[in-house]
Symmetry: C2
Subunit: 280 residues, 2 copies
Amino acid sequence: MALYYDEVFEDSVRFGVKVKETLHSEQSEFQKVEVIDTTRFGRMLVIDGIFMTSERDEFFYHEMLVQPAMCTVAEPKSVLIIGGGDGGSAREVLRHAEVERCLMIEIDEAVVRVSKEWLPTIGRAWNDPRLEVRFANGVAFVKESESRAFDVILVDGSDPVGPAEVLFSKEFFEGCRRLLKPGGVLALQSESPIYFRDTFDQTQRRLMDAFEVVRPYFGPVPTYSAGIWSWTFCSDSVDPLKPLDARVEAMTTDSKLYNGDIHRAAFALPNYLRRTTTSG
Amino acid sequence: MALYYDEVFEDSVRFGVKVKETLHSEQSEFQKVEVIDTTRFGRMLVIDGIFMTSERDEFFYHEMLVQPAMCTVAEPKSVLIIGGGDGGSAREVLRHAEVERCLMIEIDEAVVRVSKEWLPTIGRAWNDPRLEVRFANGVAFVKESESRAFDVILVDGSDPVGPAEVLFSKEFFEGCRRLLKPGGVLALQSESPIYFRDTFDQTQRRLMDAFEVVRPYFGPVPTYSAGIWSWTFCSDSVDPLKPLDARVEAMTTDSKLYNGDIHRAAFALPNYLRRTTTSG
């Protein structure tokens, strides 16, 4: 019998999807990793009870994390992804012919293994020779790496509880800044500005301590349920509202969501968020 | 003991809010009208099991239904609201000093009575002398009214099942067109383009048969759960992307959400919707 799998937030709201079948469930070294088959969203990756991504709505998240940065930076040759074990972000990065190298640092090999097996439509670029996947601690990697190595850094982690909490620290953001070439861009998922308002505000403040340009941007992610999700674009100097026309056009052709209008619109700030976000 | 009240969509997804108390419940002539007190969103109006609005997130819906039309039409003196029994849309209309008359045609007196009693922060303009509330059938009203009577018409109905279904018909849209003055604007809620894609597409097509300018626009409504909601701006001639600066500025001051950037950004069309929406 089909049942609902509910993601519960602070015991005040819940979002549930009807499950046809649990395809995989394991307790990895770091977290509980599940794949469920749902009637509405197809297969879904669930980590520690939180919906990560699904076959049907993954593009809302991955295109918006990746394309604003990739379409705006001058030469996206060298890209670092921290997290992103489902492969969706790497796939979006590798759509760009300019990319010479994409290094993914994922802490949990289980996420990659399970995603390769059960979510092949999301991580379609695993065999791209420009992609290198390393199973390592992203924070330690950033701390130990040489400066000015990357044009773009994408932080594709889960909520700031459990293993991903350190991905929202001031030290980590400063490390990312150090690893970026001048004119490079960091983009990260920065939580729901509605349900996770405190985290959102704190993250913006910490980013503003590390970067000259800090601009949150917004879009819907249906399986994230809060109505709106945020990502943040950070740089020493790059204006997120000036994407490169040719690159935007190239990406628009094969994107499900992304185009130049969506890119610019995403940066519009509602009044209720204007107080916390004054940089950039 | 507190329990979750779930809104279920097509037995495939559900969105639940934790309820402290049911404040009111009645079966009116038309529908079941409830007010629940929730831990997350404050008091919520629920009609036939569907979340209509809540104290904490009502501005996401009401500002976006009302302000794009009101800030763009040249002289919004005479405004018609079909539905809108919670009073939030009338409140947004009456913020404009230019309004001389706002007529609300609500089919169900229970919605107004219950909203006045339990949701006074939403319908703050009930005592404004420019507002007239009539309990009547909106479709019949539109059919029988004289032409060219209104500068703005706002359709603030529930989902197109039950009493609100006729508010999505071709005849009704043509009637609205007839009631508008030249240069007037119709704005309506046009459902989730994700969960109600068929309704969204059909509504766009019907509107395009009745109006020269038909532009859907988008925004989050947290208690609507699908990640994104749509409204549609319709006119014989008015460009929704040219709001009047002075009016936008006046509204921005006291809005929780609305400003000129949000106005323009809302009209950005994601690729997955570009096929159906080619007018305007």
